[in-house]
Amino acid sequence: MDKNTENLTELVTRFYDEPEIAQVVDEIAAGDELLGRCRAPEPDSGLIAAIKGQINARLMLRERRIFHPIIQRVAVAACLMIIALIGMKLLTPTQPVAPGPAMAALNRIWADDSDPLSEGDMQFALLTAEVDEIDDSILRIRMDEWETDSESAVSELEMEIADINTDFWKG
């Protein structure tokens, strides 16, 4: 309720005696009418537009003040999550599969071609294979299964073994 809708007579009756009531009500009404006639100037439309602009700027600033910390917190939380995931990936102990001796040897041989140790292992494997082949040949000769001249074959084998030995120690 504003002053235009309040019951002035009823209010005045509570505080003034009977002969004064009508006079007080009239005097208040006349005073209001006087103020109504002499209205204050209205604000310029330019001023209103400027205030609206200032209000919008303030609202945007306030919105930024509200959302900026939220965005910051979300960004920090995301960074922490990424760091935690990377950390978990790096620090979680992986279950190593214990390789058997043969697998270990094979792994060692094929692990890295440029590794000088692996290269040595490879040569060792080749040499072993050749020695095995020669042993097999000697055995066949001794059992008379070799179809060549046995004397020359033995000496040929011995020369071959001597060559291989020399090559091996050359590296």
Binding site: M1, D2, K3, N4, E6, L11, V12, R14, F15, V24, E27, I28, A30, G31, D32, L34, L35, G36, C38, R39, A40, P41, E42, P43, D44, L47, I48, A50, I51, K52, Q54, I55, N56, R58, L59, R62, E63
Partner: protein
């Protein structure tokens, strides 16, 4: 939709920080608040500044409005802003050299000064400050006596009596001024 529902809707929009609602609120109250400041200060430039200050302050303070009469809340802030302005003026005045202040106080108002202010303004200045503010607050804030007494923290009979005497005196002063012309 009546005015009260419309105001409630606008107030709810302002609470959400809706710029359109603030714009509507400004359209609704700019005239009355400007009139309130103008009648208290008598200066258009000052009223412009105070009106801007009021609505900028509203943006920041709207969260503290807990319901009840929005009109009372708005004009209480307006009143505080005006008294802050007065205090600031008084501080500035104290800084001015005493002699200059004395000369100024003796200088009669210029034609320009008079032109800036209308007759009602001049008569309002002849009333005591409390009565003048009460009349201006009631007229521009459109307050009931009950609301006014609550805002001023005084019995309703006292408020009624002050308004009655103030309006009667103002009318007398205006009629006397008219008779001089």
């Amino acid at each position: 939709m009546d005015e009260s529902d419309k105001l409630n809707e606008i107030v709810a929009g302002c609470k959400r920080g809706d710029s359109e609602a603030f714009s509507q609120l400004l359209d609704m109250y700019a005239g009355r608040c400007f009139g309130y400041f103008y009648r208290l200060s008598g200066k258009r430039e000052v009223s412009n500044d105070l009106l801007s200050t009021l609505f900028i302050k509203l943006v920041e303070k709207f969260g503290s409005f807990k319901g009840g009469s929005f009109n009372s809340w708005l004009f209480t802030i307006a009143s505080n802003i005006f008294y802050d302005y007065l205090r600031h003026q008084q501080r500035q005045k104290r800084l001015i050299d005493g002699k200059t202040a004395a000369i100024r106080s003796k200088t009669p108002p210029t034609r320009a000064d008079i032109a800036m202010s209308d007759t009602l303004q001049m008569q309002l200045e002849k009333l005591d400050k409390d009565t003048a503010e009460l009349l201006i607050m009631r007229f521009y804030g459109q307050f009931t006596f009950k609301e006014l007494s609550k805002m001023r923290d005084e019995p309703i009979g006292t408020t009624l009596s002050k308004v009655h005497r103030g309006l009667k005196k103002l009318r007398g002063l205006m009629e006397a001024e008219k008779a001089k012309e």
